[in-house]
């Protein structure tokens, strides 16, 4: 297949390396390019008019702009793990062998069958989908799937991204966004003043708008200032880097496209995401060229005139060989000259102004057709422009002049300042009638707009503003052009047929905005959401001002009063990969391991996450599945005994003369009365009376206590305690230290627990006299301090053994050896859960942030005679109203049944008419001891329902099981086992 670049000029192109010609694929066709080409410039050089399809109507679209304001040319690059959808072809550089495809089309963008939607254009006005697919509401989910197929962007990647991403955080004195004359000048001034400067240029070259022209004066200036800047070590020049977000306290986020700029280098990331704290922020983001409104102004071949010039000088690409150029300022004559110099046959320059002046006369004298007081009213040609319909238009009237055949209509609606960053930084805007644009109001809040971004499009002004801003001087008032005879780009009459598009990407036309106004929308924010104006990847850079002006006209408001929509980060799309950075996979999810983790793994543990901890859920030796294993493990604990790693439980050391008084304020029951070496189970409430956490408190010294709390609650409990100490009762002398990581802890449970303890510590007196329930002894093992606390979660005779964490593995190993000799097993959290359900002990499933102590049968732990956090709330009237959900046990009718996940409780069988839920299951297990399925549940007035029949249902799963309400303590109600 012969490949060529029909639209490549014979010489020139600042950004490309003509010495090298490479290939890439676009929709499986080979396209030639030179290194430095963007996807858009390479495709334009190849002469391909259609690059994309529009969002809603699937109209064929070509390249429209040069940079981030591109609304049309969105493509998907790569495939598989490197697939990236919605890349803007104008700012994405081509790489050798790259695979690029068009999107939102079937079978491809050249021949898109969904293009038929365009024929139904009149049937698809603003809000069409809202209006049409509302009825019946239940069917929306079904419609949505179909609509998404037709209206959408590129396909989301399915495979995990293979690229690496990195983050970097820095502080600097000055951050400058934009490397045009203003930005470069600011960087030089600040850099020479000794400030640390970061200069971000979204292009691969410095110069900004200067790159779009050939001019000996500006080119020389650019070369000189570049050299000066590169010599300043305190100025960091970052090419292919965009300031994407402005946040509080001068934090800025930057997206640096490393691989695209430097090539793919081993070890280097695809993109780097920067967080920069900067003393000052200088916005030199330049201007944004605006489209003109005329019929079918979205056809491939219609382009922004300034962008078309840019393609010539940046890439050596001539977007049309016989263009028609139209606009309302002198810029169009310079652009016509660019095309003439590049060898084009300029068909006509169509100037809206009736008396444009000398530039027009000069060009006309050279034999170029210049139409004064004329407009292009419609673009002809479907897949590519083939003619411009030109009308004579003045105050006195309009008449059709001629259909001028052409291959490109280049439009210039003038420039407005790029406002995104200024507005994100909460800068204010003023309407400027001369520019027909909003301009930033100078701001003393650490950021300032300069150059084009301030409305100063003149080269010399941009430089002087840049120098002043760089030196942190106050800028002179902006020199904005006075109101002139320049018509605004939206102020054009509709003279011919064809849709006049405002927002190309989202297919929003002038009549959609007028329709929204007729339907009563007044706020630009509402119109934006109703019509989707400005909601694409280009964030309405070009469309916004025009949409605004049309709304103002349709509602009879001034533009200045209509206001603008809120600008939010990011200014240009940022990939999720860049935001996530290196925090992916295991790095993104820190894992805390107990001291015995390696042994658990060697013993065949299947792990489960408990907060950041990983804990053995069950040991595979005890059963092939989790269900099988936990039944075996739980049964063994009750028959002989077992050991479990409980190091993850939170542990807090509290000491000081006021420690006892302080704990009385934290727990509902009294802790100050604990005797030395004794412990007590306690409840902490939130100040609103709901259960916050529970655990056991031991008095380990005259003025010293050891608190335990739940694994998941540990960090919140510590914060809660710090709050009580520092904010509520700062007068108390108490010192609090989290010590969870300092201890390794094992629970030894079951009838043989005492034998195991005696074998581990032969010298220790383990009788009830020395070590009763809630007793504690300190001893040593491996010459390390060891604490044995007699507490039970399982309901069996049980001890918790604590040792310094670095000896945890040794303790675990020793206990494994000794316990297996006694026929005891290791067990995991799943069996622990089953055991505590049998005993009716609560976890966060029951203490779910709504329950109060009475609800879960722990009202007796509340000492109402004293003040502790949350107690006063318990006497608020609504807590004593009937109908509270209360903790009960359930025995399931079918002994082997499992309980529906998320099961709701209803009073009658699910087969009967719909009925309200009276409660829900909080946890369930198969009880090996009772040989049947049991559950804990919170049921309205549950305490008075013992003995009644209920149903556990899951309407989603279409499941229903019958159960009987019982007391939540299923085994050993008298507590003889734990006291054995």
């Amino acid at each position: 297949m012969k490949v060529s670049q029909p639209n490549r000029t014979s010489k020139g192109g600042r950004l490309i390396d003509r010495g090298k010609t490479c290939e890439f694929q676009f929709d499986k066709r080979t396209i030639l390019f030179h290194p430095g080409d963007s996807i858009a410039s390479a495709l334009l050089a190849s002469g391909r008019p259609i690059i994309g399809r529009s969002f809603k109507l699937h109209r064929p679209r070509g390249v429209y702009a040069l940079g981030t304001d591109e609304p049309n040319a969105l493509v998907t690059t790569g495939f598989g793990p490197s697939l990236t959808p919605n890349q803007r072809a104008t700012v994405t550089l081509v790489e050798e062998g790259m695979s690029v495809s068009g999107q939102n089309a079937w079978p491809n963008v050249q021949n898109d069958l969904f293009g038929l939607l365009d024929r139904a254009r009149s049937l698809l006005p603003a809000g069409f989908y809202y209006k049409t697919f509302m009825w019946p509401p239940s069917q929306w989910l079904r419609y949505e799937g179909q609509i998404r197929k037709m209206a959408g962007l590129g396909p989301p990647p399915v495979e995990a991204d293979s690229a690496r991403y990195a983050h970097r955080n820095v502080h600097t004195d000055v951050l400058i966004a934009g490397a045009g004359p203003a930005g470069l000048s600011a960087a030089l001034a600040a850099g020479e003043a000794g400030q640390d400067v970061i200069l971000a240029s979204c292009s691969q070259a410095l110069g900004g708008g200067l790159l779009n022209h050939q001019n000996a004066v500006t080119d020389k200036w650019l070369a000189e200032i570049t050299k000066k800047l590169e010599a300043l070590p305190n100025v960091q020049i970052m090419k292919m880097t965009t300031v994407v977000g402005v946040y509080e306290h001068n934090l800025f986020t930057l997206s640096e496209r490393v691989a695209m700029r430097d090539g793919r280098i081993e070890g280097q990331p695809e993109e780097r995401f920067w967080q920069v704290r900067s003393g000052r922020f200088i916005i030199a983001a330049g201007g944004i060229e605006r489209p003109l409104l005329f019929g079918d102004n979205d056809r491939p071949g219609v382009m922004l005139a300034g962008a078309a010039s840019g393609y010539i000088w940046r890439y050596g690409v001539m977007v049309g060989k016989s263009p028609v150029i139209t606009g309302a300022d002198d810029r169009i004559y310079a652009i016509a000259r660019d095309f003439l110099d590049a060898g084009a046959n300029v068909r006509a320059v169509v100037d809206l102004r009736e008396e444009p002046g000398a530039m027009a006369d000069l060009l006309a004298a050279e034999g170029v057709r210049v139409e004064r007081g004329a407009i292009v009213a419609r673009a002809h040609g479907r897949r590519r422009v083939n003619a411009a319909e030109v009308w004579r238009y003045s105050k006195s009237g309009a008449n059709k002049l001629e259909l001028i055949s052409t291959d490109a209509i280049l439009t210039s609606g003038g420039y407005g300042p790029a406002l995104q960053l200024h507005a994100q930084a909460r800068g204010k805007l003023n309407w400027n009638a001369g520019l027909n644009a909003f301009v930033p109001v100078d701001n003393s809040d650490g950021h300032i707009s300069i150059g084009g971004a301030r409305g100063s499009f003149d080269f010399d002004t941009a430089i002087s503003e840049g120098l002043s801003a760089g030196r942190n001087e106050i800028l002179p008032a902006p020199v904005l052009s006075d109101a002139t005879n320049v018509p605004a780009p939206w102020d054009l009459p509709k003279l011919s047929k064809g849709t006049r598009f405002v927002d190309f990407q989202n297919d929003v036309a002038d009549k959609d905005i007028e329709l929204a106004a007729r339907e009563g929308y007044r706020s630009i924010e509402h119109v934006k959401r109703y019509t989707t104006l400005g909601m694409g990847t280009d964030q309405g850079r070009a469309a916004g001002p025009i949409g605004l002006a049309l709304l103002a006209a349709a509602t009879g408001q001034e533009i200045a009063d209509t206001g603008v929509t809120t600008f939010r980060p990011p200014t240009t799309p940022v990939t999720f990969g860049a935001v996530a950075g290196a925090t992916m996979g295991e790095v993104g999810h820190a894992i805390r391991r107990t001291a015995a983790d390696k042994f658990h793994e060697a013993q065949g543990a299947s792990f489960i996450d408990a907060g950041l901890w990983r804990r053995p859920r069950f040991y595979k030796a005890n059963g092939a599945t989790v269900g099988e294993a936990y039944r075996t493990e739980a049964a063994s604990v009750r028959e002989s005994g077992g050991i479990i790693d409980v190091s993850t439980l939170g542990k807090i050391d509290v000491q000081g003369p006021d420690a006892g008084i302080f704990l009385d304020k934290l727990y509902t029951n009294r802790m100050s009365s604990l005797r030395l070496g004794r412990g007590r189970y306690g409840l902490m409430l939130r100040e609103d009376g709901r259960i916050f956490d529970d655990g056991v408190v031991f008095r380990i010294g005259e003025n010293r206590f050891h608190l335990s709390c739940t694994t998941g609650g540990a960090s919140a409990v510590f914060q809660h305690i710090e709050h009580a100490l520092q904010v509520l009762w700062p007068g108390l002398e108490v010192y609090v230290t989290p010590v969870t990581e300092e201890w390794f802890a094992v629970a030894v449970s079951g009838p043989l627990a005492r034998d195991l303890l005696a074998n581990l510590l032969p010298d220790l007196d383990v009788t009830n006299a020395t070590l009763p329930l809630m007793g504690m002894v300190e001893t040593t093992l491996f010459n390390r301090r060891l604490r044995v606390m007699r507490i039970s979660y399982s309901g069996e005779l049980s001890y918790e053994i604590n040792i310094s964490a670095d000896w945890g593995a040794a303790l675990w190993q020793r206990l494994c050896e000794l316990s297996s000799k006694l026929g005891m097993i290791t067990y995991g959290t799943e069996a622990m859960g089953a055991l505590r359900i049998e005993k009716g002990h609560i976890t966060h499933a029951e203490a779910d942030g709504r329950t109060i102590p009475d609800d879960v049968g722990l009202g007796g732990l509340v000492d109402k005679k004293k003040d502790a956090i949350g107690i006063r709330s318990l006497s608020l009237p609504f807590f004593s109203e009937a109908g509270r959900k209360q903790l009960v046990g359930l025995v399931v009718g079918d002994q082997k049944a499992s309980v529906p996940i998320g099961g709701q409780i209803i009073a009658k069988d699910a087969g009967s008419a719909s009925q309200p839920s009276i409660g829900h299951v909080t946890s369930w297990a198969y009880s090996s001891e009772l040989e049947r399925t049991i559950a804990l549940a919170l049921i309205k007035n549950g305490h008075s329902m013992v003995g009644e029949k209920v149903f556990i249902v899951s309407p989603v799963m279409e499941e229903s099981v019958e159960a009987k309400v019982v007391d939540p303590v299923f085994i050993d109600k008298e507590g003889t086992r734990i006291r054995a």
């Binding site: 306290h249 934090l251 100040e687 609103d688 914060q719 710090e722 520092q726 904010v727 709330s873 608020l876």
Partner: protein, 88 residues
């Protein structure tokens, strides 16, 4: 993202802190407050525009609970002091 000048650790990013609500809310004497007064303490909060006194815990730092003066509109931070010192 706020840059909070911790009096103990120096300026630190907001991500190191945990927000703790309105610092002006003081715990009433539970034995001497009506249900209405107590419920107001638990449930009623203002949402002021402008100056606000807030509690922040420097949880990834010194673990001080701080009282921070913050403008809810501009995010400008005024005085910052340890809650403990404030009340002693």
């Amino acid at each position: 993202m706020l840059l909070i000048p911790c009096p103990h650790c120096g300026p630190r990013p907001e991500t190191e802190f945990v927000y703790g609500g309105d610092a002006r809310v003081k715990r009433p004497d539970p034995s001497n407050s009506s249900d209405e007064q107590w419920a107001a303490y638990i449930y009623e909060r203002e949402n002021p525009k402008g100056q606000h006194q807030e509690l922040w815990l420097h949880s990834a730092g010194c673990h001080l609970w701080l009282i921070i003066e913050r403008d809810t509109v501009t995010h400008a931070i005024g005085s910052v002091r340890a809650a403990r010192e404030d009340q002693q």
